[in-house]
């Protein structure tokens, strides 16, 4: 789905929740910011620098990391090796293997994957694979992290613990944009909520305001 005339500003330290019906352009927006898609017009700025049209690896090096809704692990490598790639490249590359390994073990610990660090990624369950996405993104040392549906398909208990993880990342001062379908979760984590519909922004404000917005209710419930 295309994005049309979208104006969006995210301030440092915010946790912006991004919601909208299927096909409203949430993932497209992530693909635009992270460089997987190039906008036809308009521009994207990060930290006062124009990053429009940069390749994804450059965007990552500038300090914007993303996860994939359909997880994309390095399937035949262990969790530790997966995270090591983020650490060895990313925005603050550590080429010293021992140092990188220590950092990555801490990140795996933080994301609750410490027990799985030597498991091959292909053998991980869905909840673990989603956490691995987050761990790998964190290893690139981003200042802005884009989380794409980290809770879809999870059990209530897994959703709960992933929510705590996202909250903990936000508390560390990192700026987050979170796409999520699980309403309860997104209302709880985000400091600001934004609603997309047909590629346009229809609401933007505090979670309490937005859920009472007439346009939002119409987009979700029809009429």
């Amino acid at each position: 789905m295309a994005i049309r005339d979208l104006g969006l500003t995210v301030n440092e330290g915010e946790i912006v929740g991004l919601i909208g019906p299927n096909g409203s352009g949430k993932t497209t927006l992530f693909n635009l910011i992270s460089g997987f898609l190039r906008p036809e017009r308009g521009e994207i700025n990060f930290d006062k620098k124009d990053i429009t049209g940069l390749k994804p690896n450059k965007i990552c090096k500038i300090g914007i990391a993303r996860t994939f809704q359909l997880t994309k692990p390095f399937a035949h490598m262990t969790s530790l090796q997966n995270v090591m790639i983020g650490r060895a490249y990313g925005s603050d590359p550590v080429r010293n293997k021992r140092q990188a390994k220590k950092d990555c073990e801490r990140i795996l610990e933080f994301t609750g994957l410490a027990g799985k660090s030597h498991s091959v990624a292909a053998t991980l369950g869905l909840a673990e694979r989603k956490r691995l996405e987050i761990a790998r993104a964190l290893a690139t040392k981003p200042r802005l992290l884009l989380l794409d549906e980290m809770m879809s398909g999870l059990t209530p208990a897994e959703t709960e613990s992933t929510m705590r993880l996202v909250k903990a990342i936000g508390d560390s001062g990192m700026t987050l944009i979170v796409v999520e379908h699980v309403m309860k979760a997104i209302l709880k984590i985000s400091s600001r909520l934004m609603v997309l519909n047909y590629g346009e922004k229809i609401a933007d404000g505090s979670p309490e305001e937005v859920v009472r917005d007439k346009k939002v209710i119409k987009a979700y419930l029809g009429k």
Partner: protein
């Protein structure tokens, strides 16, 4: 290995060793781009051929051999970078077909422009000796394996493997995938060019077009897959096995039949032993130890 020529000067032994070493160079060079970076190029013959022709003509025109080898290998690497830009826009099967077509174009060009076979001049034929051929093959094979070992333990190798595993995730993690692929392609082609150069020093007579035939590509691919793709020892095991089979079968069966046998073996390995012969040993060991301790 260094002492072999001191123990035996039997031509059949030295020929067998030379061929094995040359196939190690060729298959390991493909292993870099196809095994580690995961870009299944089918145009490997192009780089083998370029390295072979340039090295041969420079050497036969009087230049020192190592300069010829270097010039041939470098040309192959530069050519790889040039064709890498358009071909790396394609992924998977399209990349494979694109590179195959490029190699075929080169083959046809050289078949038509240089139809004459190139034969060593009589002064070289009179003094032809397998021992220096053996040492050159050994040296370059050692260099190739050492390079692959270094790559597999470096950050560069980690980046290459990440592209093989999941290109989008690699890019999102900060890996400049185009740069890594080009570099892998250039290094791979450099060694393919060296393989061609070594072969050209070994072969007394050859047709230029023959150096670009797809069989060079497919031999390399099959050896890597049968031995163990993306590993250090896999292509070595594969090359030993390949040459052994080739030499043995050529004694008893009409020429070329080894390709058929190896092709069937390739299918069997891919279907039942993904990971190659290198995976056979731990599997057997497990089975034996399981037999010993049934519970």
């Amino acid at each position: 290995m260094v002492l072999v020529p001191l123990i035996t000067r039997r031509d059949d032994v030295l020929t067998w060793l030379c061929l094995t070493l040359q196939y190690i160079i060729l298959s390991h060079s493909w292993n870099i781009i196809g095994g580690y970076a995961g870009q299944r190029s089918l145009g490997h013959a192009a780089f083998f051929g370029l390295g072979a022709l340039i090295a041969r003509y420079l050497w036969l025109s009087g230049l020192p051999l190592f300069l010829g080898l270097l010039a041939g290998a470098s040309t192959a690497a530069i050519f790889a970078i040039i064709i890498g830009f358009p071909t790396f826009r394609m992924r998977g099967i399209y990349f494979a077909i694109g590179t195959l077509v490029l190699a075929e174009i080169l083959r046809i060009i050289f078949e038509t422009t240089l139809p004459q076979a190139s034969v060593f001049p009589t002064r070289l034929l009179a003094t032809y000796n397998l021992v220096p051929r053996y040492y050159l093959s050994l040296l370059i094979a050692g260099l190739t394996v050492a390079t692959v070992y270094w790559i597999s333990h470096s950050t560069l190798g980690l980046g290459m493997i990440s592209i093989r595993e999941e290109q989008d995730a690699a890019e999102a993690s900060g890996v400049d995938t185009l740069r890594h692929k080009l570099l892998a392609f250039a290094i791979s082609s450099f060694f393919a060019g060296l393989a061609g150069g070594v072969f050209t020093y070994y072969a007394a007579a050859l047709r230029p077009g023959q150096m670009f035939e797809p069989v060079w590509t497919f031999d390399a691919v099959v050896i890597v897959f049968v031995g163990g793709v993306g590993t250090i020892s896999g292509p070595i095991i594969g090359a030993v096995f390949f040459v052994l089979l080739k030499q043995l079968l050529s004694i008893y069966l009409p020429g070329g039949i080894h390709i058929l046998v190896f092709g069937v073996l390739f299918i069997i390995v891919v279907l039942f032993l993904p990971g190659g012969l290198i995976k056979l040993m731990p599997k057997l060991r497990k089975r034996i130890s399981r037999g010993r301790h049934p519970y």
